[in-house]
């Protein structure tokens, strides 16, 4: 061990680090490293597949929900999508955009099966009922050329 003198100070240092606020794990709009952060946060399995215009990082949660993060050639997560019996952690998936989403006024006239939030940059679609949810969120300015919203599912 090259620096044995650090062995004992390391323990309180580690404890102090754990007490610090977690770094912002912004995903939507974040870089390609954030799917790994989300995978760790959600204790899930991660699978990466390459499509023509982007990469898809798919996070499979143990209780059956799947979250997908769409990464542009520039390395930006430009969209996320989800499907399953329970919604995934949307604060984690939407990152810095989560507060914009939850503060937008509801527009589905008292029904709870759908929400469509359309903001200048952020669009969120959420659908479904108990035991079967799906949705997606994307950043308009970050969508790669030639990618349609319908692909994000």
């Amino acid at each position: 061990m090259p620096f044995p003198v650090l062995r004992f100070p390391a323990a309180p240092l580690l404890a102090a680090l754990l007490l610090l606020p977690l770094p912002a794990l912004a995903t939507l709009g974040g870089d390609a490293s954030t799917p790994q952060a989300d995978q760790l946060h959600m204790k899930a399995a991660l699978r990466v597949s390459q499509r023509a215009r982007y990469a898809v990082h798919e996070i499979a949660l143990p209780y059956g929900t799947t979250a997908r993060e769409y990464v542009s050639p520039q390395g930006v997560v430009f969209a996320v999508a989800w499907e399953g019996p329970v919604k995934p952690d949307l604060r984690q998936l939407l990152g810095a955009y989560y507060e914009l989403y939850v503060q937008a006024p509801p527009n589905t006239r008292g029904a709870h099966n759908a929400a469509v939030i359309v903001l200048p940059e952020l669009v969120v679609h959420s659908m479904g009922h108990l035991r079967a949810f799906s949705g997606r969120a994307y950043l308009r300015s970050q969508m790669p050329d030639g990618v349609s919203v319908g692909e994000l599912k």
């Binding site: 019996p85 329970v86 919604k87 989403y101 008292g110 709870h112 929400a115 035991r131 949810f133």
Partner: protein
């Protein structure tokens, strides 16, 4: 125990009370506005549904009933109106602010006596609050010690982070658009085996004074579809709604009838039985020779939700609704598991025209909206107008087979 002895005058008094109750029941149930010719004499299974703008005056195509809840085993009861009828979920959920502080419902607890509290997810957000036991009465039906949810209870003010991460908080009447919701869908417990087998974030919690932690919950301790716990008429529901004029109406009535094939007023008749997927409740829509396997029939949805691209979307201020230039009649077939299918047509009108020409209406028969799930048609309350729709509960026997299924 032997039957209690009654002298002649007591028997006469009981007879008179029974006759009076019979007349009162007929009077109470006769005005339900159902359009079918139900020639029933046993109408204790019928509850009036009314579509109106709701307690916050912001709803369209939401059907409401009244329910009576009592502290278990007591006569301490309260009747609450404007409870939304939802065949897309299971369980009764009441907004805490409409409950009398003296009602005294019983807190549901975990094995070690800690309060059980739930985060219930909807597509548009979540509600948070304790699971409590209540004796429920609707029309002449009763469910004893029914696990229900009390939404926004000030006794549990701190929403856990993994619950508040599931979207907007809907713990108020103005946001929720109702005093409560009654899930009478095809499933008996709300979350089911997923919450019994996994510690699911944003679902059930044990909340001692020190704070809340995620927990698994046995299916029988979860919030339950009340219909399945009724003593009779407990295999499902029939929703029978009157027709709605194309221009929209300020209100429309219908009937929530308990049981399928259990009384003279809830037979299946010629309805086609469509078994739904036992995990998701999904059916398959066939439209234009394409299959949409994430489809469902849901009284808690406010419109016909169609995949994008079939009809023109409205300008963004009317998003997510559909604005075809003129009313369009679409033909579709719904298929269930095992081969059952039913073909039908439905009309979708220009939503902007509907909203601007009838701004005070609460019932719009031709309201369509965009569905972000490209594999899904969601047939909401407009589908129910002028129809009789049956929803059978999982594992329950009916004359049309064992649930879960939808029939119409």
């Amino acid at each position: 125990m032997t039957a209690p002895y009654l002298n002649r005058s007591a028997r006469l008094a009981v007879g008179a009370v029974c006759a009076l109750l019979f007349v009162l029941l007929l009077a109470a149930c006769g005005g339900d506005g159902g359009s079918a010719s139900t020639s029933s004499t046993t109408l204790q299974n019928v509850q009036l549904i009314t579509v109106d703008a709701g307690p916050a005056n912001n709803d369209s195509n939401v059907g409401f009933i009244s329910v009576t809840v009592c502290a278990p085993g007591t006569g301490n009861c309260q009747t609450i109106d404007h409870i939304a009828v939802d065949t897309g979920s299971s369980g009764l959920r009441l907004i805490a602010s409409v409950l009398s502080p003296s009602l005294g419902l019983t807190q549901q607890t975990g094995a070690s006596g800690q309060p059980l509290v739930e985060c219930t997810q909807f597509a548009d957000g979540f509600v948070w609050g304790p699971v409590k036991l209540a004796d429920l009465t609707i029309a002449g039906e009763q469910a004893k010690s029914l696990p229900i949810q009390v939404i926004g209870d000030p006794a549990f003010p701190n929403v856990p982070g993994d619950c508040s991460s599931s979207g907007p908080n809907e713990d108020s009447i103005s946001v929720f658009g109702a005093n409560g919701i009654i899930g009478v869908g095809p499933f008996q417990p709300d979350c089911g085996t997923v919450c019994a087998n996994f510690v699911v974030p944003g679902a059930y919690y044990l909340c001692p004074a020190s704070g809340c932690s995620n927990t698994t919950v046995a299916v029988t301790s979860q919030v339950q579809n009340p219909v399945g716990l009724f003593a009779i008429d407990n295999n499902g529901v029939v929703i029978l709604m009157n027709s709605v004029a194309a221009a929209g109406q300020n209100t429309v009535n219908g009937s929530l009838i308990f049981g399928i094939g259990t009384q003279t007023n809830n037979g299946l008749g010629n309805a086609r039985v469509l078994p739904v997927a036992t995990d998701t409740g999904y059916l398959t829509t066939i439209y234009n020779n394409t299959a949409y396997p994430h489809s469902f029939v849901d009284s808690g949805s406010s419109a016909f939700f169609l995949p994008s691209g079939i009809l023109l979307a409205c300008p963004s201020q009317y998003s997510p609704y559909l604005c075809p230039p003129s009313t369009v009649t679409l033909a579709a077939t719904l298929q269930g598991g095992g081969g059952g299918s039913s073909a039908f047509t439905f009309d979708v009108a220009n939503a902007q025209s509907l909203f601007t020409s009838a701004p005070n209406a609460a019932a719009y028969s031709g309201l369509g909206a965009e569905n972000n799930d490209a594999q899904s048609f969601d047939f909401g309350l407009p589908f129910f107008y002028g129809r009789t729709v049956y929803t059978a509960i999982e594992n329950k026997s009916t004359p049309g087979g064992i649930g879960p299924y939808v029939a119409f």
